[in-house]
């Protein structure tokens, strides 16, 4: 499944053979992550030579990254570094201009229609602006994807929705419409909505950036809970250093559209190898 949308496909090698890629990735990532690697496992997300150019402005240039089952990856970097674009390329909300993204060894770049929808089921997403459906109650926000996409019965979907709303502490707000909820509550509903679909990977796009500081805590608590008790991989683009240090299996630092440095949280935070990482951590520290 090769991308039809890549204008410069010739510049980029085709997606690697899955076995070979998995072996290389395993060797590469083993020292960089707290993830409990299992011999022979394949990465759940494989990003190869990913590039994205908006009109004339290159935002991503040759990003390579693997994410493993259940792994918590926190992506850091200054604004404009391309981290959100990278995240949005994973579920094809942005169309990459080069490279490949593979979900469980299936290429999503270039997919469309039903096959794209199918691949997206494995990828949940939490947005900076929540993007709840304002015409639906909190519960219906969580129910609708289960019923329309997973074809669950209403009873099943509602039971699951109430479980997930309870898990984010909002069972008593199930019938509220989004505009009646605070930003923090909306974001927790959005997390419940994504989790209820039981994806393999949850993508968090700066989930706390639009929140008032006093509301950030509850959202981070929910995310921490998910990271520690859930079995989903999480790719979290955030500026929350404390969260990254505490929860991440691996920290990825991006700048200028490339991955500058990645590794265990303590290694990256305490002993950054790259000058640009140091500078970034110093500036926010």
């Amino acid at each position: 499944m090769h991308s039809k949308n890549r204008p410069c496909a010739a510049d980029v090698p085709p997606a690697m053979d899955a076995e070979k890629a998995a072996r290389l990735a395993f060797a590469h990532d083993l020292p960089l992550s707290r993830h409990h690697f299992v011999e022979g496992e394949h990465p759940v997300v494989r990003i190869e030579h990913l590039g994205k150019t908006f009109t004339d402005t290159p935002v991503l240039r040759d990003v390579n990254l693997n994410v493993w089952n259940g792994e918590i990856v926190v992506v850091l970097g200054p604004s404009g570094s391309g981290k959100s674009t990278m995240l949005r390329c994973i579920n094809l909300l942005e169309t990459p201009t080069q490279g490949h993204v593979l979900i469980r060894d299936q290429e999503i770049t270039g997919a469309s229609g039903a096959s794209l929808s199918l691949l997206r089921r494995d990828l949940g997403m939490v947005f900076q602006q929540f993007n709840l459906f304002p015409h639906l109650s909190a519960k219906e926000n969580v129910v609708i994807g289960q019923m329309k996409v997973l074809k669950k019965s209403r009873a099943e979907a509602e039971a699951e929705a109430m479980r997930q709303l309870a898990a984010v502490g909002l069972a008593d707000r199930a019938e509220f419409k989004p505009p009646q909820l605070s930003g923090g509550q909306q974001q927790r509903v959005a997390i419940a909505r994504a989790v209820a679909m039981h994806p393999k990977v949850l993508l968090f796009d700066e989930p706390t950036s639009a929140l008032d500081p006093e509301l950030v805590r509850d959202v981070l608590a929910v995310m921490r809970d998910l990271a520690l008790n859930g079995d989903m991989a999480m790719i979290v683009v955030t500026h929350e250093m404390g969260f990254a240090r505490e929860v991440a299996d691996r920290v990825v630092f991006m700048e200028g559209g490339v991955v500058v440095e990645q590794g265990l949280p303590n290694d990256v935070f305490d002993h950054p190898k790259e000058a640009r990482t140091k500078e970034f951590l110093g500036s926010i520290g």
């Binding site: 929808s117 089921r121 949940g124 993007n131 459906f133 329309k148 984010v168 069972a171 509220f176």
Partner: protein, 740 residues
């Protein structure tokens, strides 16, 4: 000259201005006067309304016409200058009065009499106005300047059938007759072809267009106009029938301006005497040969009996509908009886005696006598003597053998109980012998209706009389007419509602379809939608109605008028709604599409379950406004003869010469639009509240450990209170919120 100038002179303005004005007026009068000796033209005589006449514009005879009656008054092709027999005549008359003649822009025929009556804009109306008793109650007429008749025009292929038996061919509900609103043709059709569908249009040319396109079966209008048009423009049509009404045209003048009527009569007489009239008639009509055309009321065979006594063949007895706002003939109140008979008596007929069943009354009536030889009017005078249910009419000289005698008895009454009335009677020949008139065909009359008794009651109230004595109140809010209007307009109102409510569901579906095409990813579909939307939004609905109603029949597509009206309204509204929906869809933030996509929804699912439900809420106010517009726009369908609210009110205004029916129509429109306008406001406020989280909240359990076990639950509510002025206890005052 006249009131305007003098009132200005009397005003507080500087004296110099007054003098200047007087000079200019005098100069204008001198320039306008080609013959200073002509009566009524001198400045001194026209100085005050008591001794002369008042003009709207000093020195000018301001004429109003519909300018749609070739060859009487019309615009020549591509020209904006009125031409025609009447135009020439008015110029000649004005000249003889020492005035210049100026035409106002064309006015609708049925608005001319009210305009002259109200005054202030035009001095006279000249637009083929037949002198009738009804009109004489509203305005004055000058002496007649030309005789006329009515003509029935059909397409050539049915002309023979109509000529052979016009009642059989036209007096059925399937036949649609186009007439000019307020014309004698309309009155003739209503009285003589009661079963036909009669469509009142603004001008006779529209009627002919409709007949040519197949929309209408026939058009009834002034014979000279019909003959001229059939010869020059509508060559596929034929004058199938001429109706000898023996009517005469006069110039319409306000009752409050009798000096002008007198001056006009004098000028008309001069035109008659100096040959101007004959010259103009020769110029515009030449010698018309209408002998080949069948005549409507030619009374079958003339059976002359052996006694030499002869006979009078009764060809017609009809009554004018006098039900306020309806078309029934009510007994016990004034109406007009029209009786026609053809004289087949060698010595002529010197008197006629008409008898109605007991209970009817001719007392207080006046009788108009018309005698026609073929189509030409004969001058016959006579006196009518009413005696209860009997009317004696004796003629100054006997009505000649072979001529048609018409008696129009105004302000007579049928028996109050209603029922069929037969006109019988007798006649006296020129030699003094007495013969018996055949019984006429029966005239159906009805008893008093509740509505009519209400109107009659209003007629008798002093406060109604006082109210009506104020011209403004009488013209716009006449109580009797309001009562009858509400009853008479009801069917039109219901049709409006039917059209718009039937059209709207289709408009919504079509609008949604074209909105989706417009935002489609496929260029041809987008182009198709753009063309559809732009053409329908970029052209007037009025034009679309004309294209559909006159165009489709030409293609042989004949759709019921109401159904076609629904279709046109639906198509037009759908284009506007497509834009509303498109804008609504595009106003939904991209985040909504992304959230749906991230859940794995397809484009169709996203549209169906996420985007459209939000769009619908957002567009409800705009779509409701569009509904209001569409509802009001159904009025345009009156122009093509759909019997909706506007059509009914127009017809009623035509027959009454009063604006009140329009006010009643306004009430009918407002009954629907005002609540809807209010609904729009409420919905807009609700939506705005909802977007700001202000709408009534569902019951939320108030803590007490009912929430899930998860870590943040306990302190979340306190820290996480929504940014809303309402307390969490909203449900306590839920009633207040519900009322929003």
């Amino acid at each position: 000259m006249g009131a305007n100038a003098s009132s200005r002179e009397g005003g507080p303005g500087p004296r110099a201005l007054g003098i200047l004005l007087a000079c200019v007026t005098l100069l204008g009068a001198l320039v306008g006067c080609s013959s200073l000796s002509s009566p009524g033209g001198s400045v001194s005589e026209a100085s005050g309304p008591s001794e002369g006449y008042v003009l709207v514009n000093p020195g000018k005879l301001t004429v109003v016409s519909d300018l749609a009656n070739p060859p009487f008054d019309y615009f020549d092709t591509g020209s904006a200058v009125p031409v025609g027999f009447e135009v020439d005549l008015m110029q000649a008359v004005a000249q003889k009065m020492g005035l210049t003649c100026e035409y106002l822009p064309p006015q609708k025929f049925d608005s001319i009499i009210p305009m002259i009556k109200q005054g202030g804009r035009a001095d006279v109306g000249a637009s083929n106005f037949t002198i009738t008793d009804e009109r004489l109650q509203e305005i004055d007429f000058t002496d007649a300047y030309i005789d006329s008749n009515q003509g029935v025009v059909t397409s050539a292929d049915v002309a023979d059938a109509v000529a052979a038996d016009y009642r059989g061919a036209l007096d059925t509900p399937e036949a649609t007759l186009a007439v000019q609103a307020g014309s004698t043709g309309e009155a003739w059709a209503q009285e003589n072809l009661p079963d036909a569908t009669i469509v009142s249009l603004d001008d006779p040319i529209a009627a002919l267009t409709g007949v040519q396109s197949g929309l209408y079966t026939a058009a009834v209008a002034d014979l000279p106009v019909m003959e001229y048009e059939v010869k020059n423009s509508y060559t596929a049509l034929r004058v199938a029938l001429q109706v000898p009404t023996g009517e005469q045209y006069g110039i319409v003048v306000s009752k409050s301006n009798p000096g002008l009527t007198a001056a006009l009569n004098e000028a008309l007489e001069q035109c008659q005497e100096d040959g101007t009239m004959d010259a103009l008639k020769a110029k515009w009509f030449g010698s018309s040969d209408s002998s080949s055309i069948a005549t409507a009321s030619t009374a079958g065979e003339a059976s002359v009996d052996s006694s030499g006594m002869g006979t009078v063949a009764v060809s017609k007895a009809t009554a004018r509908p006098n039900e306020s706002g309806g078309d029934g003939v009510i007994g016990g109140q004034n109406t007009r009886l029209t009786w026609e008979g053809t004289v087949y008596v060698d010595s002529g007929v010197s008197s006629v005696r008409l008898t109605l069943p007991a209970g009817a009354s001719f007392d207080g009536s006046s009788t108009r006598i018309t005698v026609l030889d073929g189509l030409s009017r004969q001058s016959v005078s006579g006196t009518a003597t009413p005696e209860g249910n009997v009317l004696n009419v004796s003629f100054g000289k006997p009505v000649a053998n072979g001529s048609l005698l018409r008696l129009e008895v105004t302000d007579m009454r049928f028996a109050p109980a209603g029922g069929d009335s037969v006109v019988s009677g007798s006649y006296v020949t020129g030699e003094g012998a007495t013969g018996t008139l055949e019984d006429s065909s029966p005239i159906a009359t009805i008893g008093l209706t509740p509505l009519q008794s209400a109107v009659n009651w209003l007629d008798g109230q002093p406060w109604v009389a006082a109210w009506n004595s104020v011209p403004f109140l009488n013209m716009f809010f006449k109580p009797q007419l309001l009562a009858t209007s509400f009853a008479a307009l009801l069917p039109g109102w219901l049709l409006c509602l039917l059209i718009v409510t039937a059209a709207y569901p289709f408009a919504i579906v079509l609008g949604l379809l074209f909105a989706l095409l417009k935002i489609s990813r496929h260029r041809p579909l987008r182009a198709l939608a753009s063309v559809y939307i732009n053409v329908l939004r970029g052209t007037p609905l009025f034009l679309q109605i004309y294209v559909a109603f006159f165009g489709l029949p030409m293609l042989g597509v004949n759709i019921d008028n109401t159904v076609l009206g629904i279709i046109v309204m639906a198509l037009n509204s759908s284009a506007y709604q497509a834009e509303i929906y498109r804008a609504g869809i595009q106003s939904i933030p991209t985040g909504q599409y992304e959230a749906a996509a991230s859940l794995g929804m397809s484009r169709l699912q996203t549209m169906l379950w996420i985007i459209l439900p939000q769009t619908v809420r957002r567009v409800i106010p705009t779509v409701t406004s569009d509904f209001i517009t569409s509802y009001k726009d159904t009025s345009l369908l009156s122009s093509v003869g759909v019997m909706e609210l506007m059509m009914f009110s127009k017809n009623l205004t035509t027959t009454t010469g009063n604006i009140t029916p329009y006010i009643a129509a306004a009430v009918f429109y407002l009954i629907v639009t005002l609540p809807l306008i209010r609904v729009v406001g409420i919905v807009e406020r609700r939506l705005s509240d909802a977007e700001h989280g202000l709408e009534a909240r569902p019951l939320a359990s108030d803590g007490q450990g009912s929430t899930g076990p998860s870590a943040p639950a306990g302190d979340a509510r306190a820290a996480d209170a929504p940014l809303s002025p309402l307390t969490p206890h909203t449900h306590d005052d839920g009633g207040v919120n519900d009322a929003q």
